[in-house]
Subunit: 324 residues, 2 copies
């Protein structure tokens, strides 16, 4: 099937075409990569725009329950929701297709929802590109909201934040007044902090944690992309379906403000620049991964290790040989 | 002056030749880089080996006082000591030559000591290469001990550990039983933890901190390069000159064990491989820094930001143009 054909089917909302297109972009085969690049190019003018929400939460905060409840709340409003994941560790666990569908059973049966697990790639760069392209595919397919979740391993939060319009941090109630070791860098990326499990016995702890984070957020420097009073911290209970409408209201208010002030488009443009730079650097470094380059590298590494050459001279020689 | 001449002078212990050679390797000029690479190549067979000690400590732990006391203790034993630094932030503060000489006044006047501040470079990669080459120069010049200090900003500890035979973590006494927020990764790199300021009022706190760290070290997985009982935590007082001999005894015991078991040479070989890989990658990425490449990048980044091209297609085009 030719690219224009697939593109047309995706734009018309054909779910099977979408699923197969995502499989295509996840492939590492050279001919698939070429076809995928052409498909992305063909779809970029589809002119549809979803709200891309990045969601980070460590295991135990109730992320699956949140996504399920939040997703069902959105589809009940007539919105179409896609759920993607960035989880570089899923390559080792052999993918999480079964896991994703099982842990969000009701949402996965919802015809207005589309759930796709993290691509199985061993390095974050590969996961990032494929997820970024899957986001664009879902957007072209007319989804209103694309949720991109991550467990927050290593740099994966940055990757997700760089492909999202909104970055939401999901937390569990903490004991005492400690801030759960959330790194300052992650806090600074957050547009909304949601303290989940604000139900039953945990409700007081959730409210305390929320107020701690609200205080911490006020100490951060105001960002140009935020109206007064943002970013916010709120409590929710995904289990009891509480606070989810309010959280969505905050998200849409923030998105609307950013659309009106140009920050929404500005951020997307910045993100495109960022990914372009990443692609160039990764593409350049990929030249060291060909069998010939690997052999050359190994050869010179052995000489360097044996003290026959300095790293600098050996590196210059390798770079000269890769070019020729 | 030709390279063989400079090399000969350095090997014979000419301090001015050493200082000028370091200035040469710190230069970014292409002809200087070529000359520096030739010099390093000429010196690699000098066959002299120093003990390279990486020292990390945040401001306030008494690092300068420690280096001065420790350095003077070594020179009093007839050893020659060089002190280098990895501090990527020094580029912003305009270098710290005056600072380094002032804060280690007695050591800087000792004829058996050589102190050189961190090269002024804005990025860690540049600081790393230049410091690594300065270490090799000092080694060729016959220094017995090369101390490489870092304030521990970002990745600088890894950089220092990757060019050291021993990695020493200098800490201050902590209140209570908390572990001063030392990251697990840094703990795992340490060969010796020294809790400084074990004098006067702070002595009990220093001993408590030391015992906390000794406990934490025991929880880490045993590394093949360590004999039984290592890594260790000890208290010292740089101010009152206490524990420094004992610390040096531990260092030499560890170095001797590693020399006997082959781990010393093995680690140096691994480090050479590591730096070779870094040099190749940095050399490759440097191709994006030429004026022509920057102009091409800017051109395509603008198109990507405007939504005219996808990052993937634009990156492929840039990589094609850089080659031609």
């Amino acid at each position: 099937m030719d690219t224009a054909d697939i593109a047309q089917k995706i734009i018309s909302g054909d779910r099977r075409a979408l699923a197969r297109a995502i499989t295509l972009i996840e492939s590492a085969r050279a001919d698939h990569r070429t076809q995928a690049a052409a498909l992305m190019e063909a779809l970029k003018s589809a002119g549809k725009q979803a709200v891309r929400i990045g969601l980070s939460g460590t295991p135990g905060v109730g992320k699956s329950t949140f996504i399920e409840s939040f997703g069902l709340m959105l589809t009940a409003q007539g919105l179409r929701v896609a759920v993607l994941a960035v989880d570089p560790s899923s390559a080792r666990s052999g993918g999480s297709i079964l896991g994703d569908k099982t842990r969000m059973e009701r949402l996965s049966r919802d015809p207005a929802a589309f759930i796709r697990p993290s691509p199985s790639q061993s390095h974050l760069g590969g996961v990032a590109r494929r997820t970024r392209e899957a986001v664009a595919l879902c957007e072209a397919a007319g989804f209103d909201v694309v949720l991109i979740e991550t467990v927050g391993v290593g740099q994966s939060e940055t990757v997700v934040a760089e492909m999202s319009d909104l970055f939401v941090l999901l937390l569990a109630p903490a004991g005492g007044d400690e801030l759960q070791g959330v790194k300052r860098g992650i806090m600074e990326m957050a547009d909304l902090i949601l303290v989940n499990k604000a139900d039953g016995d945990l409700k007081p702890a959730a409210m305390r944690t929320c107020s701690d984070y609200a205080g911490a957020l006020r100490l951060l420097r105001k960002r140009p992309q935020d109206p007064e009073g943002y970013p916010k911290a709120m409590t929710v209970s995904a289990l009891q379906d509480e606070g989810l409408h309010r959280a969505w209201d905050e998200m849409t208010a923030l998105v609307n403000w950013r659309r009106d002030t140009g920050h929404f488009d500005g951020r997307r443009a910045e993100q495109a620049r960022y990914w372009f730079g990443q692609e160039v650097r990764q593409g350049l470094l990929a030249r060291l991964e060909t069998p010939a380059a690997r052999a050359t590298m190994q050869d010179y590494a052995a000489r360097v290790a044996a003290g026959e050459m300095t790293p600098t001279i050996a590196a210059a020689e390798v770079l000269r040989q890769i070019d020729s």
